[in-house]
């Protein structure tokens, strides 16, 4: 009799744990995926402090990337879709964060390799996030679109959720503004923080 009670109790406990786990997992994943990273304090004009070359009269697209951020695989995927369809004269750059004291090859991840494979795109190592700070970005996947006069047209992310590739408003806005050469836009950005809290470079 006691064994039977113990058995039933164990199964009821496991059942409750099972239901609670499923509910908690859904909640945790939902919160994680839908919570955006810190939005940029984007410069309205092309930042003078940036060492990144800009050709006057040419539109420029800049993405900040943390090479170890798994969510940024989706951002690079979306950037590839934009680059494929955007006007050919769009100057696209990916700034890859790298701490100055990191081991050799620290930044050479699959995210970095994907960025290197993008067509018509230059990949620049951003030591200690100095360029990210110049542009006012904090989060991997943060994208800026500047027009030919160096005026900000778009600042935000180009994925719908954390780590989710697929058509979304950020991507369509960037593509639409860059193609029509008019309009402005913003969209939440999802990714890891570019700089280390307290000690990292911040604007």
């Amino acid at each position: 009799m006691n064994r039977r009670v113990l058995l039933t109790g164990t199964l009821i406990l496991a059942g409750a744990l099972w239901a609670a786990t499923v509910a908690a997992a859904y909640r945790a994943i939902h919160r994680f995926e839908t919570t955006p990273g810190e939005a940029a304090i984007a410069r309205e004009s092309w930042p003078a402090a940036s060492q990144l070359a800009r050709t006057p009269g040419t539109w420029s697209l800049v993405m900040l990337v943390h090479p170890h951020c798994s969510c940024s695989r989706a951002s690079i995927h979306e950037l590839a879709a934009i680059v494929e369809k955007a006007p050919r004269d769009l100057q696209t750059s990916v700034l890859v964060y790298r701490p100055h004291d990191a081991a050799a090859g620290w930044e050479r991840t699959d995210v970095y390799a994907s960025a290197r494979r993008l067509r018509h795109t230059q990949v620049v190592i951003d030591e200690d996030g100095v360029e990210a700070a110049a542009f006012g970005g904090f989060t991997s996947g943060q994208t800026f679109l500047y027009d030919g006069d160096g005026r900000l047209r778009f600042a935000g992310g180009i994925t719908s959720l954390r780590g989710h590739a697929g058509i979304n408003r950020g991507r369509t806005d960037v593509l639409s503004i860059a193609t029509r050469r008019s309009g402005n836009g913003t969209h939440p950005v999802f990714g890891c923080a570019i700089s280390t809290p307290a000690t990292g470079a911040k604007p």
Binding site: L7, T10, L11, A14, G15, L17, W18, A20, T21, V22, A24, A25, Y26, A28, I29, H30, F32, E33, T34, H66, H68, C69, S70, C71, R73, A74, Y97, P99, D101, A102, G129, S140, S160, L161, G163, H164, A165, G166, I167, N168, R169, C192, A193, I194, S195, T196, P197, T199, G200
Partner: protein
């Protein structure tokens, strides 16, 4: 002829008994198989989390990614109950229903841990086919309801995670579930057909047992008659 006719209820009862025994043995074996599969999937989920997204980063600092915690804790929670049931209550309806639900929840977890890879969605269809081995169509229904509920809830509150777009039509979950139902039609049919086959096989076995029993009785009666003749002639 009349003897055979009189034996029909006994043969049918024996066939039913054989069918019950065989089905129970089959269910127990499958419960154990699924318990092992769920544990393997649990470990695979942890490996996938460590391979795909091991850490969340802030500059050069890193912490374990939420996916790793979800794989370890949620995976354990999903796996524990069906494994316990398979161990303590093998062969029961509750055990295989919980196994069906857990198997589909494992699919949802693996899909999430793989970063929503479309290829991982094949796990759903493979799992349904495995569940059909139970030859119990109610298990297929439970699994399908779990898939549809997962899509419906996520589609309602968090559509991008399942459809890739923020504003899908309200009926989009029906389209996804529809492909599952497409497979279900054949699986449910195979379950019903499989059960019929099992019953027919049990009936054949019961008939053979009955015939064998009759033969033994006849042999015994013949032996007795011969023995009596031998005694009389001696």
């Amino acid at each position: 002829m009349s003897e055979n006719h009189a034996a029909v209820p006994a043969i049918n009862a024996r066939a039913e008994e054989l069918h019950r025994e065989q089905t129970l043995a089959r269910h127990k074996m499958l419960d154990r198989m699924f318990a092992a599969l769920l544990v393997v999937q649990y470990l695979a989920g942890i490996v996938a989390a460590f391979v795909v997204s091991p850490y969340a980063w802030a500059g050069k600092e890193r912490v374990l990614h939420l996916h790793v915690w979800v794989a370890v804790l949620a995976g354990a929670g999903i796996t524990l109950l069906p494994v316990l049931l398979a161990w303590l209550r093998p062969g029961t309806v509750l055990t295989r229903q919980v196994i069906a639900a857990s198997q589909m929840l494992s699919s949802a977890l693996l899909i999430h841990l793989s970063g929503g890879r479309i290829e991982t969605h094949f796990h759903v269809f493979g799992s349904l086919a495995f569940l059909a081995f139970y030859l119990d169509w109610r298990v297929i229904v439970t699994a399908t309801v779990i898939v549809a509920a997962d899509h419906f809830v996520r589609g309602l509150y968090w559509p991008e995670s399942v459809y890739g777009i923020a504003d899908p039509e309200w009926w989009r979950f029906l389209e996804h579930a529809g492909w599952v139902v497409f497979e279900d039609v054949f699986l449910v049919w195979s379950c019903i057909f499989g059960q019929r086959e099992l019953r027919a096989s049990a009936l054949r076995q019961a008939e053979i047992e009955h015939l064998s029993e009759m033969e033994q009785l006849k042999s015994a009666a013949l032996e007795m008659a011969l023995s009596e003749i031998r005694t009389a002639t001696a």
